[in-house]
Amino acid sequence: MHADLMALLPEIVLALCGMVLLLLGLGTGRRQHAVLGAAAVASLAVTALALVLAAGATEASGRFFSGMFCLDHFAIFFKALFLLAATLAVLLSLHYLKDNDYRPGEYHALVLFATTGMMVMASGLNLATIYVGLELMAMSTYVLAGYFRREVKSHEAAAKYLILGALSSGILLYGLSLLYGATGTLDLAALARSLHEGKPAATAVLGMALVACGFLFKVSAVPFHVWTPDVYEGAPTPITAFLSVGPKAAAFAMFLRVFLGGFWPLGEQWQWLIGGAAALTVVWGNIAALTQDNVKRMLAYSSIAHAGYALLGLLAQSPAGVRSVLFYMLVYTVTNLGAFAFVVLLESRGYAGETIQDYAGLAGKHPVAAFGMLVFMLSLGGIPPTAGFMGKLYLFAAAVQAGYVWLVVLAVLMSAVSLYYYFRIVLQMYLRDGADAQPAALVAAPWVERVIWICAIAVLVIGLAPSPFLSAVRTTVTLLSLP
């Protein structure tokens, strides 16, 4: 029992912190923004400490709560990544909440609860555990998307997210019930054994396909992506930043764990499903992004396209593939959070910051921040010496090794296309002279600027010296029961 609680320690700590934050939100007066922001960051830091403790006290191969939960390197990596994403998202929110005059208490608490859910997802060894984590994350993010209740767009985002999210959860549950009916278990290892013995039942394959649809929705892959642009556009921008990296990385953790840990005997069947979705996703995500004038929508389509690239690593069904997805999630998290941080900075500086014309001539006015944005755009486009290049290199290498050359050719061509829309922002910032841009009264948002700095440096460091980060993901795959 003690070992079980130890493995769950980070989640317990974070959930408790969330509740304390809720209570604090009731009590504090005028200084609530500063106090609660600091409390949220402190909570995440304490959780990181708890994670270190738990990782030290727990066997990586250990199984807890009757085999429903584990704390292997894979889970530790993802949990650290979620904590990083949540911390940066909280830092992005500090000024944003204050300027827009929304209560910070529930907001920060919900971010912590969502993070708790994500952490459970990364550790689950049983479809039921994973589902519980998923729903905790989803419920919290539905509310967060609609948190700016005085904005119509925010309402719309929350409604769409809730309805389509519920639909996808339903599909997912239906798939799980079919699988349970066919195999009699929801435990991933037992599921794999059962599917491996003899020819899998048609109901099991159908169940797998439905689960795949539910997961594809969560990573916003085409054709289950329609919610993404609207939600990303309407949600408060720091939440959009969080949604685009945290829940997406959590969905990929779940995808890898379930499909490589539980469904690998059905690899023959699902590789077409996932391969087709990956191809559609990279093509449509990039093409649709070309015509977007709203930067948040453009980044939404770009995040769809990036999910398509990452699916290639899953498709490879190899240790190299898993490693490349993990590495890519890290790369994508720092890059995308940085890019959204720039959008937040513009909004908090009084720019509208959403239409692409608002970026005209920024390089002259804010050279440092604009340089950061340039780095993020290059990284998203996969141009060296940024992290994005190294991330794509590993993904594509894993996919080529697995024989998906056609898909890689498609993906590299589409990533060349993607440079067109990423460089529309660069063009506005550097090549237009901004006489038509309307700078409003500058609001100092030091934390947002710091986030841009941190992310830009991280992107360049990972791009130039990826070795330490690659060793961090190397040890993770041994515990997925790959064939």
């Binding site: 141009i383 060296p384 010496p385 290498a397 063009l427 090549l431 990826p466 070795s467």
Partner: protein
């Protein structure tokens, strides 16, 4: 760590250091200081690179001044710098043109100088890195980094259609290079684990991106795989060269770029493509190279003649020079795919020549553009009367570009034609027609601009070239004469490296006694 082991690192990163000094050390209002710092760094960089010429031993090991350091051990990618004769000359060309292009920009660039010189210096580092890298990933990193500063140079300081030209240049060359990356990965996996899923068994060697190690497996790569990898490399390099029909980005980029951008673009960037073929395609994929010869030569010949004909029809002198590049680079490709020592040596020398003469032409066009802000040939006429020194300099560079004996173009084109002739008379004949055409469009342009009466009032008061402008051109002219009169030291450096490539790509050619080279039937190359 001695001077020799770190020489390449110093040459490569000095410009980057200069860029950092400008970005972090100077304010954008200190334009004098910015120019001085940029010039000093580029100048020292050139001086530091000169020892390569003396220290490089043509008959020594294939790659010299090597510097190896661990980079990404988990995938077998190392940080490897090293040069052979071909890259030594291209590096010298790059450092020289880099210095000249910075020195020539003082009056042409009048806004956002800080960024301009920083971008030029970053561009310099990335180009030098390409010529030095002997690891595929490192090579690719430098190869792609190059696009970003060039994009800004065209996009910020370019002509009226700069936005269009900048993004066109960027996307066009990017599409080629991403496909090249897929080819690199295929080669990498064939050397190590193979691609089991598509039935390709690998050689089982330790995974590596080291180009020189991959040279060793070149003979073992199956023909089918060679074909696909060659195709992937071809797209990347042919767009960069640019070969017909991938040349359409070039006139736009050249015309819209500022003078220094055009000089670098024509002088060095286009050589990336030809260098890529020589360094990677030929020695790594000998089988596919031999099979591709008829196609490549056909494209090269079309490029030579088409480029020349289109150049003849141009009204804009900068566009004329741009199209002449298509024609000249066609010569380089023709010589290269003759796959014999003469053709390849001529091809390498012609890369240098083209850098000198076309770089010079763009400088000259820039000089007159700064005075009159037009590049239309019809706006000029009779310039020889008001600008005699300018006319003389222009004449020398024009002659170098056409290939007049005693100047460098002649040596390069002649050597290429010898190589082509050894393969097929027809190739040589068609190639030689390109020289005739180039003489006609260049001389016709010269005649319209410099002779006759002065028809436009504004031209009567034009100032002749200043001292600084002269000094940007004099080094180029000296080199043109040097190569034209005494090319032996250049060939001495090129030939051993070229011979190594021929030994791999067409060993039978070297065994064949010269007298027995049969005159091939025109139009049907023997391979």
């Amino acid at each position: 760590m001695g001077f020799a082991t770190n020489l390449l690192n110093i040459i490569c990163y000095l410009p980057l250091l200069g860029a950092l000094v400008i970005i972090f050390g100077l304010r954008s209002t200190q334009t004098k200081m910015i120019k001085a710092v940029a010039t000093i760094f580029a100048g020292i960089d050139f001086l530091v690179s000169v020892p390569l010429w003396f220290l490089y031993k043509p008959n020594g090991p294939a790659f010299q001044f090597t510097y190896v350091h661990d980079w990404i051990p988990s995938v077998g990618s190392k940080y490897i710098f090293g040069v052979d004769g071909i890259s030594v000359l291209l590096i010298l060309l790059t450092t020289l043109l880099g210095f000249i292009s910075i020195y020539s920009s003082f009056t042409a660039i009048t806004h956002r100088e800080k960024e301009y010189y920083a971008f030029l210096l970053v561009l310099q580092t990335s180009m030098l890195g390409v010529f030095m890298s002997l690891d595929f990933i490192l090579f690719y990193v430098f190869w792609e980094v190059m696009l970003v500063p060039m994009y800004f140079l065209i996009g910020v300081w370019g002509g009226p259609r700069k936005l269009y030209a900048a993004i066109k240049f960027f996307l066009y060359t990017l599409v080629g290079s991403v496909l090249m990356l897929v080819g690199i990965l295929a080669l990498y996996f064939y050397n190590s684990t193979g691609l089991k899923a598509i039935g390709l068994v690998g050689l089982g060697n330790p995974a590596t991106f080291d180009v020189t190690e991959l040279y060793n497996i070149a003979p073992h790569i199956p023909a089918g795989l060679q074909f696909w990898i060659f195709l992937a490399f071809f797209v990347g390099f042919a767009i960069k060269v640019p070969m017909f029909p991938f040349h359409t980005w070039l006139p736009d980029a050249h015309v819209e770029a500022p003078t220094a951008g055009s000089v670098i673009l024509a002088g060095v960037l286009l050589k990336m493509g030809t260098y890529g073929f020589i360094r990677l395609s030929l020695p790594l994929l000998p089988d596919a190279t031999r099979k591709a010869v008829p196609w490549m030569v056909a494209l090269a010949l079309v490029g030579i003649i088409y480029g020349a004909l289109v150049a003849m029809a141009q009204k804009d002198v900068k566009k004329l020079v741009a199209y002449s590049s298509v024609s000249h680079l066609g010569f380089c490709m023709l010589g290269m795919f003759a796959l014999n020592p003469h053709g390849l040596s001529g091809s390498v020398l012609q890369m240098i020549n083209h850098g000198l003469s076309t770089g010079g032409l763009f400088l000259l066009v820039g000089i007159i553009y700064e005075r009159r802000h037009t590049r239309m040939i019809s706006e000029y006429g009779g310039l020889a009367k008001v600008m005699p020194i300018y006319a003389m300099l222009f004449m020398i560079i024009t002659m170098a570009s056409i290939g007049l004996p005693t100047l460098n173009g002649f040596i390069g084109e002649f050597t290429i034609l010898i190589g082509a002739f050894a393969r097929s008379t027809l190739w040589a004949v068609l190639g030689a027609s390109g020289i005739v055409l180039s003489a006609s469009y260049m001389l016709w342009m010269y005649q319209r601009m410099f002779f006759g009466e002065i028809t436009v009032e504004a031209n009567k008061t034009l100032k002749d070239v200043s001292k600084r402008e002269q000094w940007t051109l004099i080094p180029l002219i000296i080199l043109c004469f040097w190569i034209g009169l005494y090319p032996k030291p250049f060939f001495r450096i090129i030939e051993p490296s070229v011979k190594r490539i021929v030994e791999v790509v067409d060993p039978s050619y070297l065994d064949r006694p010269v007298a027995q080279v049969p005159a091939p039937v025109p139009g049907t190359p023997e391979r």
